[in-house]
């Protein structure tokens, strides 16, 4: 009797002398079988010993399920014998279980009786165990969180964690949890995690110590060439807000913000809001009067205008600036509010809610508190604040 080390993903065996009529079989390869996939995997069974020159078509194989109550979701069937290898298709649609199979082989001596018959040894018994991949997920760590990936597939999961300013930064450790609970060395060759850093079969890492390490890393678990179907993606995100002020007073100053995120992590931002990952500035609408009792200079509130990209700052350049790392969730929550202000801008008031107040508010929306917006906020004061704090 030979144990098979197996998986959902299942495994291989070595069977010898399981002959009837003189053919020994040697089942040497690993059988890959993904759990609940309805697919088939192939185990090859090779003659370990047989008289030479036995025509392949005379070799016969028998694979029998020995379970008392064979499950409907298990089956095996003989396939063509070719080049000394008999391919057997196994189908598994069940969960992690162990099944017994009897494997034996013989050749047809009736058609060519100059081959002498072998002994009538009993067929070998093989155990096939489905190895179930329960999960692929990172170890808990500070700032790491799982978010809904929105595709409705429970087999795909997404985790986010910011890049770290610490050195050395704590890496993300991703592990595959499997049943039965095999150790790293017990996991059959060809089985294991794909993705991340390292070569271990059950654990990998993702570095997060610098901006260049931002981005996404996808982890899967393969059983040979069979995908377990689980996919976990870890996004190490690099999100920042830059706050800028042009403190020149010739002719006027200006303040604005820029929200930045690494390319991969933008995939976690709705297409509607991705265009706010750029420069954002606030102005009075161009039709508002500057002079007169109802003018901007008189402190009258006029319709505002939220502008993006280059229009957010025109040809201003910052005499004061500072960048802050920001977290994913505050950013995600802020973007719909920014969108709302873009589509329905607040009123601009030179004294109460001007471009500098707006930039300060953008910082607050993503969790960054800078200058106190009380009173009249000027680009000059803001530039000074950003440079000195």
């Amino acid at each position: 009797m030979v144990d098979l080390v197996l998986s959902n993903c299942a495994s291989g065996v070595t069977l010898t002398n399981c002959d009837r009529d003189g053919v020994a079989v040697n089942v040497t390869n690993t059988l890959y079988m993904a759990e609940n996939t309805n697919g088939t995997a192939t185990m090859t069974i090779q003659p370990d010993w047989a008289p030479t020159n036995v025509p392949p078509e005379l070799i016969h194989w028998e694979i029998l399920n020995l379970d008392n109550s064979p499950a409907a979701n298990w089956s095996c069937q003989k396939d063509a014998y070719s080049n000394g290898i008999a391919a057997v298709a196994w189908t598994n649609t069940g969960a992690s279980v162990t099944r017994q199979f009897k494997v034996r082989a013989w050749y047809d001596c009736d058609r060519d009786n100059h081959f002498y018959p072998g002994g009538l040894e009993p067929a070998r018994i093989a155990y096939v165990t489905v190895l179930k991949v329960e999960s692929i997920e990172p170890d808990p760590m500070t700032y790491l969180m799982e978010i809904d990936d929105g595709d409705g597939d429970p087999k795909t999961r997404v985790f986010v964690v910011p890049i770290s300013s610490d050195y050395p930064a704590e890496a993300v450790h991703v592990r595959a949890k499997i049943l039965p609970n095999l150790t790293e060395s017990q996991v059959p060759s060809g089985f294991g995690l794909i993705g991340g850093n390292g070569s271990e079969r059950l654990s990998r890492t993702v570095e997060r110590s610098s901006e260049s390490e931002s981005g996404k890393t996808v982890f899967t678990f393969f059983c040979g060439n069979v995908d377990s179907g689980l996919k976990t993606t870890v996004y190490v995100y690099d999100a920042k807000i830059g706050l800028y002020a042009d403190g020149q007073i010739d002719p006027v100053g200006h303040s604005w913000a820029k929200i930045m995120m690494d390319y991969d992590s933008k995939q976690l931002i709705s297409p509607i809001y991705q265009n706010y990952l750029t420069e954002i500035g606030f102005f009075p609408t161009n039709t508002a009067p500057w002079l007169g009792e109802d003018g901007i200079l008189a402190g009258t509130s006029v319709p505002g205008d939220v502008r993006l990209d280059n229009a957010a700052f025109g040809s201003h350049f910052a005499t004061g600036q500072k960048e802050y790392p920001i977290w994913f969730i505050p950013l995600r929550n802020a973007l719909p509010q920014i969108h709302q202000m873009k589509t329905n801008p607040p009123d601009y008031n030179l004294f109460d809610f001007n471009c500098t107040d707006f930039a300060i508010m953008l910082g607050q929306l993503v969790g960054i508190n800078t200058m106190d917006p009380a009173g009249i906020s000027t680009p000059q004061a803001y530039a000074s604040w950003l440079n000195s704090n």
Partner: protein
Amino acid sequence: MKQSMKYIILVLVVEALGVVIFLLARPSNRSWDTQRVSEPQVREENAKVIISNSMSLKHATQSKHSAFVVTNQTFGSTVVQKYVAKSFVPTEISTNQYINTRQSDMLLPIMHAVSNAVLSVDRILKSKNYKNVEQFNRTIWLESVDKAESTVWRISPTWRIAQGETNAVVGSINATVYSDENLTQVDPSRSYQVVLFPETGALRDFCWSDKHELLRVEPQGKSHSGYENYSKHLGGEIWLQIEWDGIGNLVSSNVYNWAVRGRVIDHSSK
């Protein structure tokens, strides 16, 4: 620390003076050209002239706008050259290198729109068939009305920091398409915005005004050949999102429900 109120009032007075000077100077710079653009904007043979690797954004004529003089300043780590004393506007936008629509036929409508925008804007700039709209502070955009196409073009120049050029190249194009000849009913499904990279002129973003399709382009980076992200609104919060790499290989294609995507899964409550 905030400045004292006295200082703020002084600053505001100086600012107001600058603005008044600015406003007084503005009328002489406004030159509405009512010349119509009569020819159709797009030729079929130009349909593939779309996402340009290097839309050559040429410049620049010095406008009459007197703007500002600034001494050496820094922007991040980049030392900005002595600031140009005058503002500029682009004089043309043209394409000299193209990427065919190899990614997918589903990008064809976007390709047509971008091609249309580039050809139209190039003609508008060369003919100076636009009005300058001076804005608060130093933001400038140009507008041109094409009644034949029921389209109002807004061209926003941009600033190439490294070259110290101000407003010399086209940064973005907004096409507001109307469904009537009197230009009263905007058709958001045909209106769109094109954003270009200031340094290369290549397409960065495209979106229809009603956001039924968006395209975002990431240029080649240190570790990748670039990406193109296409998003198509399928209704509600459901979007089809497709990504190609910079050489046209399909990277991913997913349908996401953005009502839940990105929402934190709280395991501690389970």
